[in-house]
Symmetry: C2
Subunit: 95 residues, 2 copies
Amino acid sequence: MIRHIVPFRLTHAHGSAAEADFLVANRRLADIPGVENFELLRQVSPKSNFDFCVSMAFADQAAYEAYNTHPAHVDFVQTRWLVDVADFMEIDLTE
Amino acid sequence: MIRHIVPFRLTHAHGSAAEADFLVANRRLADIPGVENFELLRQVSPKSNFDFCVSMAFADQAAYEAYNTHPAHVDFVQTRWLVDVADFMEIDLTE
């Protein structure tokens, strides 16, 4: 199991319609085959500048790669992530 | 529930005795009251420079603060974390 964790901050104002619209689109990643335990969480530590965090899990590297190359993910990255996200980082965790 | 996630990198070489010793000490944080779902994981994304990650959960902010000020945590930070850790970041996630 690989846990994929991506804290991020949007270009949009808190509580804006643009923020809400992005979050709806972001949650649709949960429907991509192989995505398990999808969560869209708030980042609340004052020691971090990120406001949100996506957490999801994959059974193995093959499932992860299938997600990465899935058209719905590629489209989301191109049309939403690269447009709406001001800053992010990625970590992948395993036992 | 608050999930506290801390990816980090040690000053020690991979596979060294110093690394193993630190990880044993790190795992003892799981014994501090209020710490739930403690995990010490490997960070495997090539997009990140961190090598490990601690993940733990707290029922609420009071439990989190009790952990932060617990003598075993304060001692670990002073005698191990500030000595052995080369780089880290913290995120706290909640619904």
